[in-house]
Assembly symmetry: C2
Homo-oligomer: 320 residues x 2
Amino acid sequence: MGEPLSYRAAGVDLDAASDHTSRIAGFVSGGVTGFAGAVPLPQMRDPLLVSSTDGVGTKLLLAQELGRLEGLGQDLVAMCVNDLICVGARPLVFLDYLAVGKLDPNITAELVASIAAACAVAGCALVGGETAELPGLYAKHHFDLAGFASGVVERDDVLGPERVEEGDLIVGVPSSGLHSNGYSLVRKLIEERALLPDAGLLLEPTRIYVAEVLEALRLGVRVRSAAHITGGGLPENLPRALPDGMGAELDRSSWDIGDAGRAILETGRVDEQEAFRTFNMGLGMCLVVAPESAERLTGLIAGARVVGTVQPGATGVEGV
Amino acid sequence: MGEPLSYRAAGVDLDAASDHTSRIAGFVSGGVTGFAGAVPLPQMRDPLLVSSTDGVGTKLLLAQELGRLEGLGQDLVAMCVNDLICVGARPLVFLDYLAVGKLDPNITAELVASIAAACAVAGCALVGGETAELPGLYAKHHFDLAGFASGVVERDDVLGPERVEEGDLIVGVPSSGLHSNGYSLVRKLIEERALLPDAGLLLEPTRIYVAEVLEALRLGVRVRSAAHITGGGLPENLPRALPDGMGAELDRSSWDIGDAGRAILETGRVDEQEAFRTFNMGLGMCLVVAPESAERLTGLIAGARVVGTVQPGATGVEGV
């Protein structure tokens, strides 16, 4: 029968796990016990707890292929907290789930450090996380990364389609490159040698919009609703910020699709329509705003500008 | 150059995604917009927001190998909410992250349905989730599953080691089999033909302790702290419910290690000490309780019994 079997012999490296745990300990805040992380809830009148989860998709495969993991933590946090801000919620806590084929504390500690840094930008606490070594599910050097964020908003302050009025304007906020969507297509373009594997262009971390949007809300700017432009692009995400019976008319000449969007189109391998349905094409967030507040809003958020109008009697997005 | 490339051609199946979305829609509750899920927070004096994340580990590989996925949703929810209850928090929301190599709506809908059913048992709302199709990261029929739960507890009611007193008793609550830890070793034992791949024995879903523990707290049973017995078993998890300078002395004859624990030991391939450090060995949760409350507590939680005492001047766990 041979030597007795151990958990370690089954492919789970407990020393690496212990090393990983000690190296990430300084990044995790909050926490009342070892079992779950805690933060005080602010005193509020009628609070809603708002939660979101997301991953970074196959951007992490490209990041691994190019040996550049340092932006992934920001991508992960951004994907979650930018969803919260779409309802006006202030992120309070973040947790990560990191699954690896073989635990390498050098890599996992770098990832958790980048997550912690991004949480600081988003103003939330990294209160916990799970790092799972799953031999057999992931190849040795593969990993997956998922994140979860929760925050709060007063019920009266919830942003959403029901607040949108005729005549409202749409403010677009520039993305920082492709953010974290469409990377299966990006990798296909690279594989076909239609696109250069340029890390600076293709791996720019996802912009976190939280602080600027919260500041606008705090100052009373009349934001009605917001759309985080992720998978499906403007055509699928912007309508989620609009009520039934209203559409968006965008002026394509009013914003820059950005270097990454241009690089995708210049491959000649992706139709413009498909590109707009797959990538954010220069706008990572759209805010629907009362017309009298539009100038104030664009003054508060770097690069923001009016990109369109709300159209009663329409549906979907015109102009892209 | 061939046909223009599309996101679909890059391996992302948008029809399957749409089918999946429509099939899970009925399971998701809460939600103020399509971007993030929301639930009202109860009125409380000084609330803490408590959060936890976990996965089901390589139990999902065994479940796939045996073609029995239906318990995984409960495993996932249990792993998270049982952590929350260790600090006395009531779970409010749950979100899942499901990553697949190739989206099969039959499988993903079954998984989400089982998650939703388990959320109902735990008394929390499934407010959202992410289903990611990640060709290239996961093999075609592989998937990974992570969960996230948040809940609330009054600051004054937080359970934890600092409440434990000399003379307190340790109440053990039976596990439902192996729960969701140690499956890399289980799969190794099966691979070596030391253990039969018995789904009934090895895939029993993880017991959810939330309702019974919350009821005990509501009735004023003087629970001091609690430990969810996961990876590392009793020796690593029970001390997390005890203050520095106190240990646990367990009476091994006072509980049944269960059929799954016995099956592991009967392979003859795993030392008893290693088994206790890898599996829960019959106890899925331990509650530290004031001696005068022990009988009341064991009367409220099915199968619970006194399994040991808190020992001042000791460390760790004696008796296993």
